[in-house]
């Protein structure tokens, strides 16, 4: 499902005289229509595609009207391309300031998966304006945020740009009763580890296995046990899903079978009914029961399919290796597990993910391992992945331990050349390149690996670690928890230093004066570069524990596979 489907589906578009829909990027649209309307993200490649169509029409003497609607905004570079291709003026442009897509009662997505690569790999700030505008929009809808926290360079820039917009516009949000008391902005690179882990809460597992797109999933024939695929919206409205989405996978079976028994019992009640009762039953309850029945069988089917896939992939062994990496034990064993994973060509994406997890938890691979794993990877999955390795090194997801030193040398060399102010910028830029993850030290400082005596009860979780089977508390969520608890960064100086700084905490003086309790308990968690369903589940859990409510604003829903895929070079 695409974002457009969530807003205006095909039939709505048809009602508005849209003759036919085409996908940009595929073949040229063959249409006899006199008007073309392109609803696109502002990308240079797309502009060339459009220009080709317009120019082809011109050559064949066809006259049409063309309209490009950029979402969420137009970029100057796009206009430049239109001008270069000689179609500027032949097309008219508009902007659709579409920033927020509510995926669920508590999740808002900007549907910008490219944010991750554009910002963290290419260092392009093009989406920061969009984030600022999204915040501005939320601010105008829900009143000023009382307290703003954040960590990460992008978080800081987005916040600054948003304040800038806010000051200038004197928006109607001011003076409104604040409904969201706190906002927390976080860059994805503050915590790659969590995003790299295999997800084991139901919603995360469904995302990892079937890919949830825009809050909807395609369950294939193996799930529906028919020859059809079914598109299912997964949100709070789904009575079955809403009760299992945040659960650890192991608790889901029990729940589903209990639920089916209840359902059976309700069906069974119709025995011994008289005709009037039966009439009531059919007219009032049966529909609901049938609906529930349908949902139950879908989710049971999904569970079965997940189980089948996971057993085939040695999921147990993989989870074990992941947990060892998180804890920092048996690193050699995990390394050979990864090696074998590569050699057996199990999955290019999973292999990459495991290597990255190893690298981040160990502050980079030792050179010997790096070379050997890289060589084997290229042999197993194709030499062109040389480019992937280069990208991963640049974002700091997969590094060689010695790299830090060489970069420091370059850094000092360059720093000497420039003035103080600029030097600060350079060091920053290099820092982000050479940044060590320091995961082990941070994990120790924040107690991310729970010490467990005996079995961790996944059905009655005691902390956020349950989203990873009790083995690890997601770093991103732990930071949020700590900062909210302390109402600032005080006492977290060491953690901040290890995370490379860029933290902030600002109170809006106009709001602080009369804090309303209700709004104080609402926190907008903003993830720049994507957030995972595991993180959402963990914070929902935290919210329940602490009596507060989290609302999520993310540039996109992500998971390890999406992150890895975004690092692979595709042909132009």
């Amino acid at each position: 499902m695409s974002p457009l489907d969530r807003i205006a589906n095909v039939s709505i578009l048809k009602q508005h005289e849209v003759d036919k829909l085409y996908k940009v990027d595929s073949r040229p649209a063959l249409s006899t229509s006199d008007q073309f309307c392109f609803l696109v993200r502002p990308r240079i490649k797309t502009m060339r595609y459009i220009a080709d169509i317009v120019n082809a029409d011109k050559m064949s003497g066809r006259s049409r009207k063309y309209k490009i609607i950029f979402s969420p905004q137009k970029f100057y570079a796009c206009e430049m391309v239109l001008e270069e291709e000689g179609v500027f003026g032949d097309v008219t442009c508009d902007e659709w300031s579409f920033y927020l897509l509510p995926l669920d009662e508590d999740i808002i997505s900007m549907e910008l998966p490219e944010f991750f690569r554009d910002y963290f790999l290419e260092g392009d700030h093009r989406w920061i304006n969009s984030v600022a505008r999204a915040l501005q929009l939320l601010n105008s809808l829900y009143g000023p945020f009382g307290k703003a926290y954040g960590i990460g360079r992008c978080a800081k820039m987005s916040y600054e740009l948003w304040r800038d917009l806010e000051e200038e516009s004197e928006s109607d949000g001011q003076g409104r009763k604040p409904e969201i008391g706190n906002i927390f902005l976080m860059d994805r690179d503050m915590d790659y580890v969590t995003a790299l882990c295999s997800q084991v809460v139901y919603e995360g597992l469904v995302d990892d296995t079937f890919r949830i797109k825009c809050g909807s999933v395609d369950f294939g024939p193996d799930v529906t046990s028919s020859d059809k695929s079914i598109k299912v919206l997964l949100n709070a409205q789904d009575k079955v899903f809403s009760q299992i989405r945040n659960e650890h996978f192991s608790s889901v079976f029990g729940f589903l079978s209990q639920k089916s028994r209840n359902l059976q019992a309700q069906y069974d009640r119709r025995r011994g009914m008289d005709i009037k009762q039966m009439k009531n039953f059919v007219s009032q309850e049966l529909k609901g029961l049938k609906q529930e029945h349908r949902l139950l069988s879908l989710h049971i089917g999904a569970c079965e399919s997940i189980m089948k896939k996971k057993t085939k992939q040695d999921f147990q062994e993989m989870i074990k290796a992941e947990h060892s990496l998180l804890e920092g034990v048996d690193v050699r064993e995990s390394t050979s597990f990864i090696e074998e994973h590569i050699d057996r060509q199990v999955s290019p994406i999973e292999s990459l993910r495991l290597m990255c997890l190893l690298s981040i938890t160990e502050n980079g691979l030792i050179p010997k391992d790096y070379r050997s794993l890289k060589t084997q990877y290229l042999q197993s999955y194709g030499p062109e992945h040389l480019l992937t390795f280069h990208n991963l090194k640049r974002v700091g997801l997969l590094t060689e331990q010695a790299a830090g030193e060489t970069l420091t040398a370059v850094e000092s060399k360059v720093s000497k050349l420039v003035t103080d102010r600029a030097a600060g910028k350079i060091t920053d830029a290099f820092n982000s390149l050479a940044r060590k993850s320091n995961f082990r030290a941070i994990s120790k400082k924040l107690g991310l690996i729970p010490r467990v005596d005996g079995e961790y009860d996944l059905k009655m979780p005691r902390d956020m670690a349950y989203v990873f089977s009790g083995a690890y508390i997601p770093l991103s969520c732990k930071i949020i928890e700590q900062v909210l608890e302390r109402r600032g960064w005080l006492g977290l100086e060491e953690v901040v230093r290890l995370l490379n700084g860029n933290e902030f905490s600002v109170s809006d003086s106009t709001v602080e004066d009369n804090p309303t309790w209700e709004s104080q308990r609402v926190i907008l968690a903003v993830f720049l570069g994507g957030c995972t369903f595991s993180e959402i589940a963990a914070l929902r859990f935290l919210g329940k524990e602490r009596g507060c409510k989290f609302i999520f604003l993310t540039t996109a829903i992500t998971n390890s596979a999406r992150m890895m895929e975004s690092m692979i070079e595709a042909k132009a």
Binding site: A77, L417, F430
Partner: protein
């Protein structure tokens, strides 16, 4: 054509005055010129209320706003009647934007009006098409909004700010290097990548590249934006120049190597890769590139041979297991699997033999064994599997050895439906007792289970296992005889 010029021409041609000549130094004329200038400069003010006496005329000659015109205009929203007028339009001005039209607000066509709710988002293209009905007389005049932009002196900061809000701003004013750099720094400080890139495009157009590069070297954020833009726009040559200037030799190499992804034709791709070998990669990567080239070279040879073999229908293996896909551009391990599948027994001298591949690409033992095992097991060639793990020592004893855990061997064999006898042999070799028991139980290798329990002296488990084997089978007998063996000292 500007409106003023058109007026001028009309004026001269239709006037009763004598025609203008260049050598005419008439006082009258210069006076006239002067007053004309004065009038023209007034026009900006006068025009503002859009209350022009001159009747504006549309393309078909009817005065804009007249009834017949508006009927035509309305009618043309039903698409068929568009042709005639539009083609006329094209003759006039190919860059002319779409006509705004009065249509029901429900129709999609309303989108084409180009009218933007937020005036602040007005851009050049919008401005052209959006100056209202009155303005599409042939004399296309510069939109008023633009006059403002060109005439006012926005500071660099304000310029950046306006651009951030999506307004059109001319950058042509920033001519000194100093000004340009201040503008760039302001853009970077504004945190909006769109604006940074816009400024960079302007700088790229108006500065010699060495100077631009030099300034970007100390402006990392801006530099990232330019590199990303060049990548996206496909300006490969300039990108390489920039990277070379920055001494980022490895990136130069990778960026060139990347282009092979866009080459479909294998021969061309091979040639291209050959050229990549000399690029300034790290020593390690150079050997990867070399391997890439060699691999494709081999694949081309193998593919040609095998396609021939397959079509000729002489070779049994190809008849029995027709190839599902070509081997071209596949990874090395896949190629090795292929060659273990189709060319296992070939002598080392041939390009397609597994041993040749192993040697050429220095494939580690582990990798080789895993792949060969998978290929031979798929063909159910159990003798080959056996040979893969058999080693002889100098005394001639044979021993089974594997560079990978035997539990992996078992798993791969099982996945290929190996018979129990074959499985049993390898399950027995699994060193870890617990894993061995698990695998043996899972795959019903009864003998191994029984023997392991016997070795463990675990009477209880052995007794319990009796119900897993068939009644009256050889296995049951075996268990019974072991349980009755008085010599064993059971631990329980």
């Amino acid at each position: 054509m500007s409106r003023a010029r058109a007026d001028e021409e009309e004026y001269w041609h239709s006037s009763k005055f004598r025609a203008f000549t260049f050598d005419d130094e008439d006082d009258e004329l210069s006076q006239l010129k002067e007053s004309k200038r004065a009038v023209n400069s007034l026009r900006d003010i006068v025009d503002d209320d859009d209350d022009d006496d001159l009747e504006r005329v549309s393309w078909s000659g009817e005065p804009v706003g007249s009834i017949s015109w508006s009927i035509k205009e309305t009618a043309s929203s039903s698409t068929s009647s568009l042709e005639g007028r539009d083609s006329g339009l094209q003759k006039g001005s190919s860059s002319y934007a779409a006509f705004p039209k009065q249509v029901s607000s429900y129709s999609l066509s309303s989108l084409f009006k180009g009218r933007n709710k937020l005036p602040s988002f007005q851009s050049l293209s919008d401005a052209l098409s959006d100056t209202g009905v009155k303005n599409y007389a042939p004399e296309l005049r510069r939109p008023k909004a633009e006059y403002k932009d060109y005439s006012s002196d926005w500071s660099p900061k304000d310029t950046v700010r306006r651009m951030q809000r999506g307004k059109v701003c001319s950058l042509e004013r920033f001519r000194s290097l100093q000004d340009k750099l201040v503008l760039l720094d302001e853009a970077v400080a504004g945190h909006d990548g769109n604006v940074i890139t816009a400024v960079l495009i302007f700088l790229k157009r108006t500065l010699r590249r060495e100077i631009l590069f030099r300034e970007l070297e100390v402006r990392q954020v801006a530099l990232c934006h330019l590199i990303h833009f060049l990548k996206e726009a496909g300006e490969q040559k300039l990108l390489l120049d920039l990277l070379r200037f920055l001494d980022r030799t490895e990136e130069v190499a990778l960026s060139q190597y990347r282009e092979h992804l866009n080459i479909q034709d294998v021969e061309k791709r091979r040639e291209f890769l050959k050229g990549c070998i000399g690029l300034p990669f790290s020593a390690e990567d150079t050997s990867h590139i070399q391997d890439h080239y060699t691999l494709l070279e081999r694949q081309i040879i193998i593919e040609a041979n095998d396609r021939h073999l397959e079509t000729a229908g002489q070779s049994e293996i190809f008849r029995k297991y027709p190839r599902k896909a070509s081997i071209l551009n596949m990874p090395l391990v896949t190629t090795l699997f292929y060659s273990c599948f189709y060319h296992y027994t070939e002598a080392e001298g041939t390009f397609s033999s597994p041993t040749n591949l192993k040697k050429t690409f220095k494939i580690p033992d582990k990798q080789y064994v895993l792949t060969a095992l998978a290929a031979r097991a798929k063909l159910r060639a159990w003798d080959d599997v056996d040979a893969l793990f058999t080693t002889k020592n100098w005394l001639g004893y044979t021993k089974k050895k594997a560079p990978i855990g035997f539990h992996r061997v078992v798993e791969i064999l099982q996945r290929n439906n190996a018979p129990v006898q074959v499985l049993e042999e390898y399950v027995r070799l699994v060193e870890d007792v617990e894993t061995r028991l698990n695998l043996a139980t899972k795959y019903k290798c009864h003998d191994v289970v029984i023997e392991t329990y016997k070795d463990l002296k675990d009477r209880i488990q052995l007794t319990a296992y009796k119900c897993k084997v068939e009644r009256g089978s050889a296995e049951e007998e075996k268990i019974n005889s072991i349980l009755n063996n008085m010599q064993i000292r059971w631990k329980n």
